[in-house]
């Protein structure tokens, strides 16, 4: 539900960018010199980012890949460490 509710532009962006935008919004709100309508709009955007960040953390899964072939069996024993 949170995923489908999140605006499309948030889905493809890395976590740290979302977090950075959220931090900027909070700072802008705290500065307190914006027109009310803009504040409300920013606040709404902040909540979307907040949800997107939480979702990202909840669903995160480490990706592992390997470059090149594995080592040959006969030599791999030498690398075993106790």
């Amino acid at each position: 539900m949170t995923d489908s509710a999140a605006p499309a532009d948030l889905a493809g962006r890395p976590f740290d960018e979302l977090l950075a935008e959220l931090q900027r919004i909070v700072q802008a709100l705290e500065a307190g010199n914006l027109p009310l309508e803009e504040s409300i709009e920013l606040y709404r955007r902040g909540l979307e980012l907040h949800v997107a960040c939480e979702t990202r953390l909840k669903d995160a899964e480490l990706t592992i890949s390997q470059l090149g072939r594995g080592l040959t069996e006969q030599s791999s024993g030498a690398d075993e460490e106790s």
Binding site: L19, V26, G32, L47, H50, A60, S76
Partner: protein
Amino acid sequence: MAERQPSLWDIPADDLAAADEPSAGPMDPAPSAPVRAAPRILRVSDLNRRVRQLLDVDATLADVWVEGEVSQPSFPPSGHCFFTLKDASSQIKAVLFREELAAANVRPEHGMQVIVHGRVRAYEPQGVYQLYVTTLTPAGAGDLHQRYEALRAKLAAEGLFDDGRKRPLPRWPRRIGVVTSPVGVVWRDIANVMRRRYPLGELVLVPTHVQGAGAAGGIVRALKRIYGQRGIDLVILARGGGSLEDLWCFNDELVVRTIVASPVPVIVGVGHESDVTLADFAADVRAPTPSAAAEQAAPDLGQFPAILGRLHDRASTAMVAALAGRQRFLGEEDRALMRLAPDVVGARQRAAELVDRGHRALVVRATGARASSEALGDALRALSPAATLERGYAVARLADGTIVRDPGQAAAGDALQVTVARGTLATRVETASKETQA
């Protein structure tokens, strides 16, 4: 040395004879020893056998430790290794059979200083004596330390270890290259740490040997390979603990130079806390262990739910403060209207409730956002004097802007500015009379 070092020539001839065929061999001393006999003519094979036997019965030669430098090693298809072991003034041929070669943790290289254990035997067919090596290890730690120190000083003098060269690590790495052995606990530890702390990233393993012959070359190749990849933000070079010899490839000059040449920051985590290799000096960040390297590579996401919660609270607090400010401002107009329109009291109360609702909505999570924004809009509209003016009420101000609440504030002839719903009227007071009823 001085004590009972049997030399070849100390062995009594009789003993040798006994070790040989029991009787009447060609080497039997002549029965009448003191008599000068014609010189014996030996065959070559007899001579060589005698030498072999001499060497074979020598206890010292059967179990020797020798330090020397490897020269011209060869590796024929048989799988054995032949080389010459030498020092400044002398040399001896040496053989390392296939099985022992496989067991040795280094491959003999030309110029390598080694300590070998084995026995000396003669090889009859060729009339040579040689060292049959059973174990071969790089020469003593003292020597390694010297080489380590010499290389460290040289590379430091080039500035390769300067602090100024150290690059800061990226805060949020996307792809992290890991150069290590794919077997053993090190790779597993790194993957586990990243899975637990920073599952957002991608680990790219570049498997290589991190010990034994050829490890240094393998590490260099692996590093260059990862450097060639797109999107790598950071490289971890890691290995578990081991002896100075085990970790020696991390003191290899080319390994050090390849680390220095990295286009992205490199974290080196080799061995245990106390193991410091030249690779550690060359790294942008030195981690005491492989797990610590993984921990330094990225932030711990476990702290971010709390951070996000705090950001949310700050945003809500800022919004509430913004609204409260507006409310105060509107209150002034509001008070003026109260006298003109008794039902403003009701409107104000309703507005206050809406603002309260708005505040409550603000502190609930995302789903409340739109509702609270609408409620805030309603509240602001209700608070605005425009709504009241729209109903036909007006606000009268003196020339200095003071809102007129009491006829006593104005005298006949004073200018009044009367604000109605859609504009302002400039008027003058004709009479000012105090009334009891509004």
